[in-house]
Every structure is written in C-alpha cells, then in structure tokens.
Amino acid sequence: MADSSRDQLLTLKVMRLTRPAFAHNLTVPIDPADAFGAELQTAMASATGQTSAGDPLGSYVVLPQSFENIYLGETFTFYMCVHNDSNQIATEVAIKADLQTSSQRVALPCKMQEPVAELSPDQALGEVISHEIKEIGQHILVCAVTYNTAAGEKMYFRKFFKFPVAKPLDVRTKFYNAENDDVYLEAQIQNTSTIPMVLERISLEPSELYDCNELNPPRAPFSETPIEGPSYLSPQDTRQFLYCLSPKKEYTLKSYRGVTSIGKLDMIWRTSMGERGRLQTSQLQRMAPGYGDLRLTVEEVPATVRMHEMFKIVCRLHNCCDRALDLQIVLDGSLQPGLIWSSTSGRHLGQVPPNGDFDVTLNLVPVAFGLQVISGIRLTDTFLKRTYEHDEVAQVFVS
C-alpha cells in the first residue's frame, strides 16, 4: 500500500446543497424630498447590484455561504467532487461515502463507487447525493477516495466532515375523554429550531380502532392585513392541533379497555426557501378509563326542567364483564335533596348478557331551584351479591 504521507494527486471537496437564499440588501433610509438620496441609492446599486435601498431582501439568489443547521427529518443533500490537482493521469478512481452516527454506519448510494473512472490533469468528477436524516446527534460524513497513479501505485485517502443534527420540533400530547366514548387528542407542537418554519401539514393517522376527525380551522383566506397571527411558527412558539377520535362501530367496547394505540402524528414542514422536513411520532398510546363490570351512561336527560314538573331520564346499562349480570335497581334519594325519585325502587330488571346493553327509564321531580345533580342509583347483581353505585350521573337545571 502507498505511504499515506505522500502527496495526493487528487483533492476532494464537499459542499452542502441547501436551498439558495435571497441576498440581504444594504438598506439606507432615503428622504423622498432629498435629491441627493436618489444619487446615493444609484451609487449603492452600482456597488452591490441591488435595485433599491429600501427592500431588506434583494432579488438575487445566492449559493449557501456556510453550513447551516440541519435538523432531524430534513434531507441532507451534498455535492461531492474530486479534482485532479496534479499533472498526472489518475486511473481507477472510486469514491465511497458513508454516514456515521453514534448508532450505525450507513453507506450512501454513490455512482462513483466502481473503480472505473479516469481523471486527466485538472479534470473533476462530481456527484450529488441525498440522504434523509433520521437520527439526532453528531453525524460524520466519511468520504474515501481510491485511485491509481500513472505509475500504477494504489493511492487512498479519506476525509471526515462532522456536523450535528438537532431536533426541530417538540411534540406534547394530551388526551381528553368525552362522555360518549370519543377521545380528543390535543397535540402541542413547538418549534425548537433557530429559524421560523411553516407547518405545511399536521395530520393524525388513526390506528385501526378509531376514526379520526380533524378539528382545526382551515387556513384563513389571503388578506393584505391579516387579523390573526402569522402563518409561520417563530422559534420557541407553539401551535395546538385538535383531533377527535371515535371508536369504530365494528369493535366492541371491550377492545378499548386498558392501553390502546390511537395513531401516529405525521408532520410536514418547510423552512427557508422551501427546505422540507418530515417527522412521524411513534404510535400514541392511551389509557382507557376503567368502567368496572357495569357501566351506566345517560342516554336521554333534559337540560332544563320546570320546578315541580316530573321529567324522565333514560339510562343505558352496559355489561362490561364476561359473565351475565342479573340486576336489581334501588333508588336512594338521600344524596340529592333537590330531586325526588318517582320510579319504583327495588325493581328487578332482568339479566344482561356479557357486552350487552339494557335501557332503564327513571322519573324524577325537582323540588329545589338551580343546578341539581342526579345521584343515588344502586344496582345489585343478584348472582354474586355485588352492588354497583352510580352517583352524579347527570345534571339538570331547575328553573
């Protein structure tokens, strides 16, 4: 093998290809009444090529000047170029590129991997390579070049390019359980990068147990002077998104007990001049509220009732366990002084099969004004002599 301290014939250069950015203008405020101001503007324009001293961004687009931050979810695109600096011909030129992170080493697809190329003096060979960044932390791009000199000597050198990858977004989720088995997911997305970003599309891909309904307002129509805030997200700002997940009809309530997967949050964003990024969360998990063996939901209840006028509520009893329940209902009025039960207490309701429903209609008479809470329903399973207490099942307003 060649002595690595010998001078190399070829040099390798790597340039990151981000989107081009607009040149920043030199700006100087100009008094419209001052003829001299126009002269100054012309002089500045001749020096920089910009057309006006008033716009912060010029109409020229410039190549990336320095290595900007790169974030998880973005695509790392770079141009790798090998140039023959010497006056010899180099044969069997091959370049390999690997991306090394703390956990793995990925070989990047490169057309110049095969040692078939030949470089004459002052000739260059280059290629554009793209790779989606899927990890955070320190990344090292390793480029290895092998070639033969004119004398047939095998030469080899490597170059290392280190760059850090940071997290661009921070996602926090909150679950809200509605009374009707729906789950509301609030996603708070915070921009943890250093530049403003535009959230192009934030969607929830539901798991097979749920249907998803997005509850976010559509983008406001264009207005020159918008009333709402900016369409972009500044660094450290947070935006919230709301989704309603309804359990699919074909699954019984049993499937939703315990821990269930809700779905994945898919986020697509754009930063300066269209630099695109995409991230997906892992499956979001939700702990279902426990209902025990017997669940009581109020299917019908009036919102307001008149004083001393009897009203009825319809309760649905759902058997959540695996055995049949033989139910007897007892109504205890001591917990609700403002309402009086007007149905038979101590009734035997009958058997409810596993996962079955049973509706019960109960009557009440209000005797006090204001917001009254309905409590005191006691259901006893005669098979196992177990009593299930249901209090504060609903509220009515008595006027």
């Binding site: 340039m15 290809l17 989107r19 081009p20 950015a21 607009f22 030199l26 700006t27 100087v28 405020p29 100009i30 008094d31 419209p32 009444a33 001052d34 003829a35 001299f36 101001g37 002269e39 100054l40 012309t42 002089a43 500045m44 001749s46 020096a47 090529g49 057309t51 006006s52 001293a53 008033g54 716009d55 912060p56 961004l57 109409s59 020229y60 687009v61 190549l63 141009y79 554009v128 403003p196 970003m197 535009v198 983008r219 264009f222 020159e224 002077t225 918008p226 805030g229 900016p230 369409s231 972009y232 500044s234 964003w269 754009r270 930063t271 300066s272 001049m273 269209g274 630099e275 695109r276």
Partner: protein, 384 residues
C-alpha cells in the same frame, strides 16, 4: 462675531461665509416655500420652552449638541489592498480618484462608488466645523451645511454596515430635539426662520440605526415618535395652518405640495419600520407595515409592485409559499406592462417558486427566459 468673552473656539470657521455658500442640496436656510416645507418641524416642548424666552447673546448661548467624529484613522481600502496583494503593484487594478476637499468632491466620490473615501472626506470637512476627531462633548456651532455633512456621513456608515461607529457618533446628537438643532436658535444667521436644521434623512437614520443595538425596540419607539410628529404636521396642514402650527400665508398649491411631501415621508418612515421588524424577525409585522404603505393614496404603481415583490420574497424566505404566491399575484397586477423589465420580474417570481419546490431545472429554464426578456434583473447560479 464678537471676539471677547467667547465660550467657543470660532477661529476655525467664519459662519457668515458658510451661510452664504450653497451646497449641492439647496440652500435650505432660505425662505422659499420649498425650504419651509422641507425643514418644517414641530419643536419638542424642551426646545419650545427655550424659544419662548428671549435668547441670550450669541456668544453666551449654551451648546446642547456636541458631536465629533469617533474614528481618526482613515477607513482604508480593503478591495484595493487585496487587489495589490494578489495582482501585484504592476497591475494595481483599483484606482481611486482624487478630488478636492469640498462637498462637490464628496458628491463625486459617492457617485463613483468610493464610499469609504467619502466617509474619510466627511471627517476632514467636519473637522473644519470643529467637530472632528476628539471634539465630541466640546461646544461647537451648527449650521445647515454641517448637519448635512453629518447626514451624508451617517448614510455612508449605514451603507458600509459600520454600525458601532454609527451608533457612537449618533449618541452625541441625543434625540435631535435640542434647542440648538433649530433655526430659531440662530436668529442672527437665519432671521425669521423656524424649523429644524436636522435633515429628515438623518432623523430616519437616527431611528433605524437603533435596530443594531442590544435594544432594537428603541428603533420602533423612535420611529413611532416620527410618525406622531408627521401626523401632527399633516393635521396642521389640513386645517390651513403652516406645518408647525403657526398661522401664515398658505396657498392651495403650496398646501397640496406640502401634504404630498409629508405623505411620502410618512411612507419612508413606514418602510423603515418594516425593515426594523425584519431585523428583529417579526416578519408578520413587517408585512403589515409594508401593506400600509401600499394602501396609502400616494403610493405609486412602481412602488407598489416593488413592495409586493419584496413581500413575496420575504414569505418564500420564511417557507410560506402560499402567501408568497398571493403577494406575487398582487405584484403582477401593478407591474407596468410597458416596462420590459416587468416581464422579467414576473418570470423571476415563477422561478423562485420552482426553486422552492426543488425544481431547479425548470427554474433555470425560467431564468434564461427572464434574461432574454430583459437583461440582468435577476441572476442565479446554482449547481444541481
């Protein structure tokens, strides 16, 4: 000038002579309606209080504003030095003109783009007014000409991005509202004249330069004060009074011209605000300021199309292509169809949007088309 008991060193310059020479900017110290309109300013309460009393004799008057340049060494010629280093003395590629040490010479330097030499020349000319290096905080007299020199110096410093020097030299001027910044303070030189000697450009630079300090919101405070003063002036005009509120002869033409002037100055201040918002990354507010300018009644079509194009570019830079497309659409509505450069601008907008989505090949084709439509308004070079 009385020789005995002077509190200032007047030996360097004879202000009577200076008052007679006219600079390339016009006399300003005169009494034509144009002079009155452009130098009108409502004095601050502090200055008004001083003018309410009879002024002391010229030699016993206080000096409130005491500026001086803060850099002695010439700015040098980095481009010339670099050329010499790489190309050698023989090729001496960069030739700097030599001009006479006067305001005409200053204009020649600026017109030919030699901004650094121009700054050095302002330093030399200001030394003649006793406001050269090391003279900060020592008393000196102000005239329209000396303040114009300062104004040119500040404009050049801002164009050269020499913000620390700009800031330190602006500091001695305070808020530009000291009594000695008004014509009323020098009745023997400018008899019967009221208004501010501070050029309007200097006021805007003084405000906008604060955006480069650790407290950029100072710029917004100052700009808002400017807007308040301009609004007060326009209110006076609409009531048939002179700009500073005094009652005098004001023909309809005069009033209309003045209103037009101050409206355009208001737009200049709004654009300054937009640039300040841009610097502090409040792009949303920058857009709002620029939209205000476009909606004002005296905004020309050319101005509108320029601003809409600028707004589109700002939004692309942010990452918001939808909004940018709307702004570009508005721009094309106001672009002058007889202007050959206009077609190039519209194609340029399409090219930017192609670049946004990574379609560099299509963007390149569009750029070539734009270049064919007009020459060199947009230029791009990209590896793809």
């Amino acid at each position: 000038m009385d020789g005995a008991g002077m509190s200032r060193d007047d030996s360097v310059v004879n202000l009577d002579d200076m008052a007679q020479t006219t600079t390339s900017r016009g006399s300003k110290g005169g009494h034509s309606p144009f002079d009155r309109r452009t130098t009108a300013w409502i004095p601050s309460s502090r200055a008004a209080q001083v003018f309410a009393q009879p002024l002391p004799a010229a030699d016993k008057r206080l000096s409130y504003t005491m500026p001086g340049i803060m850099q002695e060494a010439p700015l040098g010629d980095p481009v010339g030095d670099l050329a010499k280093k790489h190309l050698g003395d023989v090729h001496a590629a960069v030739v700097r003109p030599s001009v006479e040490r006067s305001t005409d010479g200053l204009r020649r330097l600026i017109a030919s783009g030699n901004l650094r030499s121009a700054v050095d020349l302002t330093g030399v000319l200001l030394a003649a007014y006793n406001q050269g290096f090391g003279k900060a905080h020592s008393p000196s007299k102000h005239t329209v000409e000396s303040l114009e020199l300062w104004c040119v110096r500040f404009q050049l410093l801002m164009a050269l991005k020499m913000n620390t020097l700009l800031h330190s030299e602006l500091e001695t001027f305070g808020d530009l509202e000291a009594p000695d910044m008004f014509f009323q303070y020098y009745p023997e030189i400018y008899p019967m004249k009221r208004g501010s000697m501070v050029p309007f450009s200097m006021r805007v630079i003084h405000a906008e330069a604060a955006k480069f300090t650790p407290n950029p919101s100072d710029a917004l405070t100052r700009l808002n004060k400017l807007i308040a003063n301009i609004n007060a002036i326009m209110s006076n005009l609409s009531h048939g009074r002179w700009e500073d509120g005094s009652v005098g002869e004001l023909s309809d033409d005069d009033r209309l011209e003045s209103e037009a002037l101050w409206k355009s100055r208001l737009n200049a201040v709004r654009q300054s605000m937009a640039r300040t918002f841009f610097t502090i990354k409040e792009y949303h507010l920058a857009s709002a300021s620029l939209a205000q300018v476009c909606h004002s009644e005296n905004c020309s079509l050319e101005e509108k199309s320029r601003i809409y194009s600028s707004l589109g570019r700002i939004n692309l830079e942010l990452g918001d292509q939808q909004q940018a497309a709307e702004w570009f659409q508005k721009c094309s509505e106001f672009v002058d169809p007889t202007n050959p450069a206009a077609k190039g601008i519209v194609i340029g907008h399409k090219a930017y949007q192609k670049m946004f989505y990574g379609n560099y090949a299509e963007a390149y084709e569009l750029m070539l088309e734009a270049a064919a439509a007009n020459d060199a308004n947009v230029d791009v070079s990209h590896l793809s």
